[in-house]
Amino acid sequence: MVEGLGVGIGWRPEIDLTVERLDVDFVEVVAENLHADRLPESVRVLRGRGVPVLPHAVSLSLGGADPVDAHRVAHLGALAEALDAPFVSDHVCFVRAGGLDSGHLMPVPRTREALDVLVANVKAARADLPVPLALENVAALLEWPDAELSEGRFLAELVERTDCLLLVDVANLYANARNLGTDVGRFLDEIPLERLAYVHVAGGREHQGVYHDTHAHAVLPEVLDVLRQLKERVDPPGVLLERDDDYPSDAELAGELAAIRAVLA
């Protein structure tokens, strides 16, 4: 369903020239950091070369109890049009609640009730977006006490009921396997991989027995192994490396992209 994107990297202002130099097939931008009327020069250069630029949102709070903020959806949609993007994405999470902002992607309870709210929010967002929406699994450090569905079933029902695409983050999946005991094989078997838009890969590290999905450390071989397990089931249309802090040399990033390509070969 989704055309081949190849291997990409998250575009960030701190590494804009690096991204231009690296051999990547597509990039992703954090939607909240860009404005459709004032695209950074580097992003325009990449678009000029025909590199797909996918807006990735972090603030819709689709899993929140409040209805989705129409301004945030409009911003994402305008960016998709300015970039001529084939689709946009955000996470299966909530960000705000009770008048507070967590500043982070918080997991939602995997209950039927929370799923109903999520479905309603996603449908509302989709109705106002000019392109399809892909939904991403998040890394969680804590588990809500009363899960009624497995992570895979929850995500599968969500994308099927809302007719959305999937953005599978294999680093988040690895993190949840490590921290919450999520069964990687079962998760990959339960989600409708024919809806897969692309895949995220990122680095992290263990601290005091907990794995942290930092996006500031090297990608672990174990995370690439989850990518391998996914690839045994389906050829992912695209795989994108996310790095958000402690940026390494161009050579190191190129090495991580090469390691991803090797898994896909």
Partner: protein, 114 residues
């Protein structure tokens, strides 16, 4: 159609965020140790962003930046709709009010003294 579900979900999510970001009691059923880890992660992220936005404030406070920010943050969970720049400015004002940070100088180096 989803109103009762929304209200129950709102209450649960708000309870969790109050516990993680402010002084709320730990919600029942959660692993208390993981709540502490999550709260620490959220605080580190927030402090890191403020340090990036206001390196002048972080530098001026030196080793006191971290404990002071953590005290400020617990007492002032970030409000939905606020920006990190506002958070950083509010922290700087708070630190001045606490007597920990010198008030900003009115005179700028590029202005001629009159």
């Amino acid at each position: 159609m989803t109103r009762p579900q929304r209200e129950r979900l709102a209450a649960r999510q708000a309870e969790l965020l109050r516990a993680l970001l402010g002084d709320g009691a730990p919600p029942p059923g959660f692993d208390p140790e993981r709540l502490r880890v999550e709260a620490r992660v959220l605080l580190n992220k927030r402090r890191g962003i403020v340090a990036m936005l206001r390196p002048d404030v972080a530098d001026a406070l030196g080793e006191k930046f971290r404990p002071l920010f953590d005290t400020y943050a617990r007492a002032h969970p970030r409000q939905a709709g606020s920006r990190y720049r506002e958070d950083a400015a509010a922290f700087a004002e708070w630190a001045v009010a606490q007597g920990e940070l010198a008030p900003p100088r009115k005179r700028r180096w590029w202005r001629r003294a009159t």
